[in-house]
Each structure stands twice: as structure tokens, then as C-alpha cells.
Symmetry: C2
Subunit: 329 residues, 2 copies
């Protein structure tokens, strides 16, 4: 981010919603009576793992790509991503008839690379962190004249992610709390700004991995604060530094941000598989991981945003074993 953008408002989210109509999926809210029994709460799983590309990312990125003027659009787009934002960008570019470059940090998952390529994106492996990949993407934007799409810290991106909250408000009445995974903070910021404007009584809780808690640190310091070294199985949340816009929105609108361990994330993936019969990646399971590790939500009506599907098969196998042990199978 070189220029200071204004913060998105709920009006921007409503506009995003119109842009996404008929393109993004209105994802279902799943209930499960066994899960409710186990957690002692009414749990509403907002199933963004069913979004196009298998993650919520498509909403914000398609909204951003759709905001480009025709000249910019024709020169193509570039984004930095561990995978999900990259796939969303490749899909958005294809649907808008342009090309995409996705800069992925070294060590990025081969299956996520393949999915981006299948969707028509060009993968460029560069940098040893999310920060380094972002810098490289900005260079590509300058050199190739491509529009730089930030995976989380642009007005239209945040506004697009906020459409999750508009749907949730329509789908579930009388929520007490919404639990949202947070990496760079785009989804959390978007959801929080909508609830703050339309349902201010609903508690908004962010969840970060213990080894990637930039938002928690930033809130403690009062300014954006990176983590030294990212360490988490949840590559979608493995961000060194949360956004500037997202931080402002989170500071203003989020009730609190908690962390969960990698073990808790893996176990939660196994619960999704064994109890809800769906594949959810560690990043997407952060909300359920928090619910499984606290009784703060007992007796409450709580939505968890299950934000992405794209778990590696080997990881899923590990998760199923872990949760089977917890379930005493």
C-alpha cells in the first residue's frame, strides 16, 4: 500500500454484494445437532469452504477486479498468495477475460499451485515469506503494468469479504457472537464492519494461530506489528503483518482476538470431517478450534465462519486420526 485509502463502509459492502450477485455463491449455514450437543451451544457454520475456489477469498478479489477500468483490466492482474487468494484471482481474471500472475512464497503447496494453473493463472514462486511475496508482486505490477491486487488490504477486497456478514445476517436471526479466522484480517475486518453497523450487539471474535498473531500484537501495541517468524499449519493465516486498513477496522469493530494452537486447528479439521462430513482446511477451522477449547460460548447462538476447504490430503489424514482419538474412536 503506497497511498492511504479510505476505510470501506457498509455501503461499499452493499455495492460489493451487487457485483457478486450471480457470480459468487451464497454459501449455506450448516447446523448439526451432534455438534450442538457436544459444544453446548447453537452453532451456525457459515460455509465459505463452499465458495467458488474453495474459500471466501473470491468475494473480495472478484469485487476488486471488477472495480478496475477497462484499460487496467486488459493489462492483467497480479497478486501475492499462499494459494487461496491466488486461486480466487485466477478465477476472477478468467471470468473477467484477463490474465493473472500469482506470486507464491517458496514452499507453497504444489496442489494449490496446480489449482491456480488449472484456472489459468501463472504461478511465480518468490520470497521466503508472505511479506517478500507481496513485495515481489508489487514489482511485477510496476514492470508489467498489471493491476496489483492485495490479498486483504484494499477497500474493495475488504468490502467483498464483508458480504459474508450481509448473508449471515439474512440467514440467522439473534446471533450472540460470530467467530472469524484472521490472517491479514480482510475477512475479519469486513465482517466486523458490517455487524458493527447493522447488528452492533453481536460479539465479533477473531481467531489467529498462536504462531501468526500479528493482529493480537498490533492491538496490544496500538499499531500494525509484524510477527518475527510465522509458524503455523494454517498457511492461509500465516501472514507476518496484518493490513493497515484491516487493522483500523478491527481495532474499531472487533470485540476481541484469540489464538489457537496448531494442534487445536488440526483437531478441528478432523471434527469437520468426522462430524460434519466436510473437508475444511486448518485456516478455515480456526473458529471451531476456538469453540472446542473454551466454554465462553456455552448456551450461546454462535456463528463460525468456516472460511476455506483447501486442505492437503496428507494433512486431512492426520486430522482425522487426531479427532478420532479425541472422539474416543
Amino acid at each position: 500500500m503506497t497511498t492511504l485509502e479510505r476505510l470501506p463502509t457498509v455501503e461499499d459492502v452493499r455495492e460489493a454484494s451487487a457485483v457478486l450477485a450471480g457470480v459468487a455463491r451464497m454459501t449455506p449455514v450448516l447446523r448439526d445437532p451432534l455438534l450442538d450437543e457436544l459444544l453446548g451451544a447453537d452453532v451456525f457454520v457459515k460455509s465459505e469452504f463452499l465458495q467458488l475456489g474453495g474459500a471466501f477469498k473470491f468475494r473480495g478479489i472478484f469485487n476488486k477486479v471488477s472495480s478496475l477500468d477497462q484499460d487496467d483490466l486488459e493489462r492483467g492482474i497480479v497478486i501475492a498468495s499462499s494459494g487461496n487468494a491466488g486461486l480466487a484471482a485466477a478465477l476472477a481474471a478468467r471470468l473477467r477475460g484477463t490474465s493473472s500472475v500469482v506470486v507464491m512464497p517458496e514452499g507453497s503447496r504444489p496442489d494449490k499451485q496446480a489449482a491456480i494453473q488449472t484456472a489459468g493463472g501463472t504461478v511465480l514462486i518468490s520470497g521466503d515469506s508472505s511479506d517478500a511475496a507481496l513485495e515481489r508482486a508489487q514489482l511485477v505490477a510496476e514492470h508489467e503494468g498489471r493491476a496489483f491486487i492485495h490479498p486483504f488490504d484494499q477497500l474493495e477486497v475488504i468490502a467483498g469479504q464483508g458480504t459474508v456478514a450481509l448473508e449471515l445476517i439474512e440467514q440467522v436471526a439473534d446471533l450472540d457472537a460470530v467467530v472469524v479466522p484472521a490472517g491479514g484480517g480482510g475477512l475479519l475486518a469486513g465482517v466486523a464492519l458490517v455487524f458493527s453497523a447493522l447488528r452492533p450487539d453481536v460479539q465479533i471474535v477473531g481467531v489467529e494461530p498462536e504462531g501468526a498473531n500479528s493482529i493480537q500484537r498490533s492491538l496490544a501495541n496500538g499499531r500494525v506489528t509484524p510477527v518475527e517468524v510465522v509458524s503455523t499449519v494454517a498457511e492461509g493465516l500465516g501472514v507476518r503483518r496484518c493490513g493497515s486498513l484491516t487493522f483500523e477496522l478491527i481495532k474499531a469493530n472487533v470485540d476481541r482476538v484469540e489464538t489457537v494452537s496448531d494442534d487445536a486447528l488440526i483437531t478441528a479439521c478432523g471434527f469437520f470431517w468426522n462430524m460434519l462430513h466436510v473437508a475444511v482446511e486448518p485456516s478455515g477451522a480456526a473458529g471451531l478450534a476456538l469453540l472446542l477449547s473454551t466454554d465462553d460460548f456455552s448456551g450461546k447462538r454462535v456463528a463460525v465462519v468456516a472460511s476455506g476447504a483447501n486442505i492437503a490430503i496428507e494433512r486431512l489424514a492426520e486430522a482425522v486420526t487426531a479427532s478420532s482419538l479425541v472422539l474416543g474412536r
Copy 2:
């Protein structure tokens, strides 16, 4: 089946729909632009893999259990199943406050057994085929006074499965065809009777595994005809003998029944994972397997009922590799 039941009608399906309201999930219809491009058709994935218990089975079985009078209900239920119908029965029994016994054939998957037990069902392993397990379940019903629930061949069960079609008609206009996996034929019979009554112009196509094509054989012979030896990776469709009621309905209302190979089923599971980012079991992938192996549906608006999620992890890993090869990854 000892007594001759009447065939269900669309009115029975409407009643089932009222029974299921607020309990079963109205499953979403997923679109995917890449899948449409690949198949050269407008494909509507009716996502019954998101049903409670991970399969469409819950609809019919909950409807049947709900039709029991209080005395019968209190004595509990018994069913025979390779897994999905058993889990549906265990969930239905729990929700209705009674007990369930699930007779599973030898060699049934341990993870499906565990899921049934987690839901409160008692698993009884017995018999070397679906037929043998059915006979044992009937004996348990007699000896323990439990209500015998047939996994596919009872009026209320078929009527419940038909609610998939009522939803589909509401969700998608102007379909040309609906492709439905078939084992015992409960889902196919229920869907076909509804379309025949309400949208007779829509083609209804059943899909069986090559190694479990009792319906195809029965249609050729004009009477219910078992296969000698069932051989398929799709354990949910691995039925020796289709139902009597289901056969009558299928004969009257289905346009044609096709078969697919095990390789095609596995590849289709991989496509669901790689392109739609969801886990679908081989039985549930039969519709997509057919679409991938023919161009009969080119340019058509075709719904595939993706009927179940519950794939074993090892099988999923195999499927992802198989489809990656096809996709040239």
C-alpha cells in the same frame, strides 16, 4: 418386504417435505464455471453430500422413523446398511429419542462404523452381502420387536428421498436432465416420480456401477433381477438386488439407466476435490462420472445429484492422484 406396499406418490413426497422441514438441510445447488467449460454443459450439482450425516439417506429414513407410532418408536429401530443409511438411522433415532441397531455386512468400513456409534447407534456386523445383512436386520426386528427400516424399499423412505427433487425444481429452472446415482434405487425412484408428476419433460437418467447393475438387469428382464456378485468401489451402491417398489417406480418414470466403471467413479471423486473443492464419495460421484464419459449432455442444462460425502481418506488420496493425471497436473 413381507407385505405389498402401495407405491408412493408426489403427495407422499410433499408430506415428507413437511416432516423434514427444519430438520433435514435444504442442500445447495453448486455451479462452477470451470466445470461447465470442461463439460460443455450447464452443470448443477445438487449437493446432498452436505445433508445431515453426509448423504441423502437421512431424508427418507427420518421420514420413515417419523411415521412410526409411539409404541413402535419406543421399541427402537433396526436397519441394514453399508454405512450411510445406518448413520442416517442412528441420527434419526437419536433425534426422535429412541435406539437404533445397524446391521452392516462383513468388511464394512471402520470409519463408517465409528460414525454410527458416535451418533448413538449399535453396530452389528453380519453377513457377506447387502442381502444377508438385510435378512439379519429382519431377524433382529422380529426378535427384539424393533421397527424394521428398509434402506431403500419402503414407501416413506422413497418419499423422503423424493424431496431432493422438490428442492431441485424450486432451485433450478428449465433443466434438460437429472442424473442420479442408483444402488437399491430409493433416490432414483423418488426423484423420478416427482419429475414425472411435475416436470415430465425433464430426462431422468440413473447411474449404476458396472459391478452392481441390478436395476439395469431388472429393466432388461422386466422383473427384479439380482447381480451374482457385487463388485464396486462405491459401497453405497453395492447392492445385489434393487427394491420391488423402487423397480416399479424406476420402470415407470426413468428414461434410462447407464453404468460407469470404478475408474470413472474414482476419477470423478478427484474432480470434485480438485475442481469443486469438496469431498464426495464414489457413490455420490456417479453422476459426474457419467458426464465425464459421454457427450450426451453437451449444451444441456443438467443436474447431477451428488448424493454422499463419506469417502475414506485413503480412497480420496487415490482419487486426487487419478484426476490430477487426467487434468495433466
